[in-house]
Amino acid sequence: MANYPQGLVYHHTGCVVKNLEQSIAHYKALLPEANLSKVYTIASQKVRLVFLELNAGVHLELIECMEGNISLSKLFNKGATFYHIAFTTGGQPLDEVISQLEKSGFRLFSKFQSEAFDNKPCAFLYSPEKHMIELIEH
């Protein structure tokens, strides 16, 4: 059995939406108690996004593609609206967690720093099931 990293903490599920403001209105009507973050514009990833905190530390991320985001728009147009699940690293260095996950069959394809997380190091990987996983060093 591979040595999986321990201590990852669930943070959010990222869902792609067509219109961010419309979706915010829908979810606020459905979940009026949820805390809404500010809207982040992440130019490097060509997305606009917002977090709805459903319970303490449990978020839904709504993501709208900006112009030129061809890959994500294609996924959305194919009906893939549930996009990724995200975990914080539980205080562990991101590279250590990535290294352990790679030994367990995960495949890294992007490392970046996100304005939505105070420019903390982040990464996208695919799990062996081809589920997209985001890691946030925190």
């Binding site: 061809i70 890959s71 495949r107 890294l108």
Partner: protein
Amino acid sequence: MMNTLEKLNEIFIEELENPAIKLTEATTANDIEEWDSLAHIQLVFTIEKAFNIRFTNQEITSFKSVGELVKSINNKVNNG
């Protein structure tokens, strides 16, 4: 019989949904608008399946051109 570059060209056209793509060994991600990091990993999965090979994680993030991709594919196919 198609060579590796021709087969890759077909894969790129299908995956990136762009029939105008004409790969050369010098082609890089900067030359193809649709070839971003998300598209790259989808391409990798399709290429692995088509050639019955598996890239290392280091290879996935280090290919700098189609030529490097072709060379890696040919090495893996020829050396099993």
